[in-house]
């Protein structure tokens, strides 16, 4: 059974800030939406509101960081990575300043539609020198990603989760920089997942195993630098090849990073990249969008069948049963409700 944690970032930020007196939070009119309201109320003298003006906010953050403070920017991923890209690159990344950009609503985790869906943030920021990119996949990672970010001498972008977040990994096994989580051993296929797609992958792996497919499953939370040798080792061992699945465009994200490494190391394995296939999305619920754009367990099963070259006879009903065993139906309903009522 998977525990659902309510607003893990909100409470963790307050706890974390107590240990780091030079931590400041900068907001751009999305303070409660980014679960920074608790921090603001607890530490009003360390919270600074900049309104809907991200270019300027990033510049202020750079100035504060140059003076020895640690600004934690809180806004939606799109408003960190698209709108103020030049400011991010020149004011923050070039001088390698310790600004932590906590980006919410990565990919299709928002029903807010195309303007709010960061489907290209990893691709954009992978191309920015000095940048470290982290992605939380569950409540344990939401709670431990700030401590990892704080150890990095330079700018950090975090794809953060909010609201009701499942705990997939034990609370005493925090996110570790540059280390994928090895969730299962196998030699037929390697599945590499990140972010919210990992829960889908857990379900798909269980279904594949029930049909006798031996699957290696890795969860990635450090997208840059991307140098964990486990990934290539597991893919090299996988007889039929590998599948990546990510809450992002298949161009420039996790799948691209793996493909680059496979080519550079001369590992001749097939790789199917699941994610948004060079398309924008639209406003709808997360489960609907994950299904529509092929970011779910069913899409993984289809990709596995393609690589193996045979049908595995896993239908939606079988998949749903497996998922239900892993996460109870009641919790599933809670999550669906939370998705719809969350502040935009």
């Amino acid at each position: 059974m998977i525990e659902l944690v309510t607003r893990p970032h909100r409470s963790n930020l307050i706890r974390f800030a107590a240990e780091h007196p030079d931590l400041l939070v900068l907001g751009a009119d999305l303070t409660a939406s980014c679960e920074a309201d608790g921090f603001r109320d607890q530490y009003p003298e360390r919270f600074f509101s900049f309104g809907m003006a991200e270019q300027n906010m990033l510049g202020f953050a750079a100035g504060l960081a140059r003076e020895g403070f640690f600004p934690y920017i809180h806004t939606f991923s799109v408003f960190i990575t698209r709108r103020p890209f030049d400011q991010l690159a020149m004011s923050i990344a070039y001088p390698n300043l310790p600004v932590r950009m906590i980006g919410f609503l990565p990919g299709i985790t928002t029903p807010g539609g195309v303007t709010h869906q960061a489907i290209d943030d990893i691709a954009l920021l992978r191309a920015v020198p000095n940048m470290t990119i982290l992605e939380a996949g569950d409540a344990t990672e939401v709670e431990s990603v700030l401590a990892v970010a704080q150890t990095i001498d330079g700018p950090v972008y975090v794809r953060q989760l909010r609201g009701e977040v499942p705990r997939l990994f034990p609370a005493d096994q925090p996110l570790r920089l540059g280390q994928a989580r090895h969730l299962g051993q196998g030699t037929d296929l390697a599945i590499i997942s990140a972010g919210i797609c990992t829960e889908e992958a857990i379900n798909a792996v269980a279904a594949l195993r029930s049909r006798g497919v031996s699957v290696s499953h890795l969860h990635v939370s450090t997208l840059k630098p991307f140098d964990d040798p486990q990934l290539l080792e597991q893919i090299a061992k996988a007889r039929h090849g590998a599948i990546s699945i990510e809450n992002h465009s298949i161009i420039g994200g996790l799948g691209s990073a793996i493909a680059e490494q496979l080519a550079e190391q001369g590992i001749g394995k097939r790789l199917i990249r699941l994610g948004l296939r060079d398309t924008y999305a639209h406003g709808a619920s997360k489960p609907y969008l994950m299904r529509e754009y092929g970011l779910d367990a069913a899409a993984l099963i289809r990709a596995a069948e393609t690589l193996i070259g045979e049908s595995l006879q896993i239908d939606d009903i079988a998949l749903a049963k497996i998922a239900a065993n892993i996460r109870t139906e009641a919790q599933g309903e809670t999550l669906a409700k939370a998705d719809k009522t969350e502040d935009l």
Binding site: P44, F48, G63, L64, F69, S91, N96
Partner: protein
């Protein structure tokens, strides 16, 4: 964790006398400004082109800032600029900024933020006139591997930020000023800007934030030469009425003759004497953003950013430039005859500057 990511210059030289060269007479804004124009003309000729009109318009503003407005310590950086040491990164401990030429960092000392970095040659020339750079520092100007770049970056002498994407420095200066206030420092932050930067939306975002957060320990000097790359600003995209716009954004605004050092210095000196030194040291609790600040009282005059709009002439001191009007942004010699005319001007510089 390294709280001070970048070094601000080596302890390469001890405190320097104000001006070992080139002139034995006491430094005046007028003399320094004339020296700036001569040096920029010289290197524009040597470089077969350059940002000459910017020297004409800004020489008195920058000289006034360094001689009469800013409280800076002596340079702590070498007279001959160091070579480029690589871009900043966590793997490069050798990266540095050019801020050391403006003196050490100290609570009571001011900071200088140079925004329109295509004016770099003007700043280098000024630093030489002030003895903060050696007279031979410009030998490296615009040469490969040098930090004395054509368009300055944070490693260039006198520069602290990489501001070449225009309109970004003011926000960063605002962050520096806010940090200094949080730490209770009394020194102020001075930003030199070009008027073209007021076309960038970020500049107005920054002024809104400076007013909202009552950042009064920051002052901006604007070289309002009314010129930009495509020509006169009134043709490209007007920013007027600039003073009214800035006042509406909550700044204390003065419009002055940008070649008159008395007029340029007066607003800053009045601010300093008005409420005693150290107006920046507002206790943090008072000015911190409360969760829901409802209609606070009008900010005190000293809690507003100070802006001096320096109305300037882009051909000041080099009349020959007027023949190029209205395209003055970058001088590239069109004919040998034109180049000869500028060579001739440099040769007879003493005559033209002592008019």
């Amino acid at each position: 964790m390294n709280a001070q990511p970048l070094q601000t210059g080596q302890q390469a030289t001890s405190a320097q006398p104000p001006s070992p060269s080139p002139s034995p007479s006491p430094l005046t804004v007028e003399a320094v400004a004339a020296g700036i124009r001569r040096r920029v003309l010289e290197h524009t000729l040597r470089n077969n082109g350059g940002y000459l009109s910017q020297a004409c318009s800004s020489a008195e503003i920058l000289a006034t800032l360094y001689l009469r407005v800013m409280r800076l310590g002596p340079s702590i950086a070498p007279l001959i600029p160091r070579a480029f040491a690589g871009v900043p990164s966590r793997d490069n401990p050798n990266a540095f900024t050019g801020a050391g030429y403006n003196g050490p960092r100290a609570s009571e000392l001011d900071r200088f933020i140079f925004s329109p970095v295509h004016y770099a040659l003007v700043l280098y020339a000024l630093l030489i006139e002030l003895g903060r750079l050696g007279p031979d520092a410009l030998e490296a100007f615009n040469t490969d591997g040098s930090t004395v770049e054509l368009i300055g970056a944070e490693h260039s002498p006198g520069h602290e930020l990489t501001a070449g994407s225009l309109g970004q420095a003011l926000s960063q200066a605002g962050g520096i000023a806010l940090a200094r206030r949080l730490r209770g420092e009394t020194g102020r932050v001075w930003v030199f800007m070009s008027d073209g930067e007021f076309q960038e939306g970020q500049t107005w975002e920054a002024f809104a934030a400076l007013a909202h957060h009552r950042i009064g320990n920051l002052g901006v000097y604007i070289d309002a030469n009314a010129q930009q790359c495509d020509g006169p600003m009134t043709d490209v995209m007007t920013i007027e009425p600039l003073a009214d716009r800035l006042r509406a954004f909550g700044a204390e605004v003065h419009e002055v003759d940008g070649h008159d050092s008395e007029a340029l210095a007066a607003p800053a000196l009045a601010r300093l004497s008005g409420s005693g030194a150290g107006t920046g040291a507002t206790p943090r609790a008072v000015t911190a953003t409360a969760p829901t600040p409802q209609h606070q009282a009008e900010p005190a005059p000293t809690d507003r950013p100070l802006v001096v709009i320096a109305r300037t002439d882009p051909c000041r001191g080099i009349e020959l430039l007027r023949e190029r009007a209205p395209k003055l942004h970058y001088l590239r010699f069109k004919t040998p005859a034109e180049q000869d005319a500028y060579e001739d001007l440099l040769e007879h510089w003493q005559d033209s500057s002592s008019q």
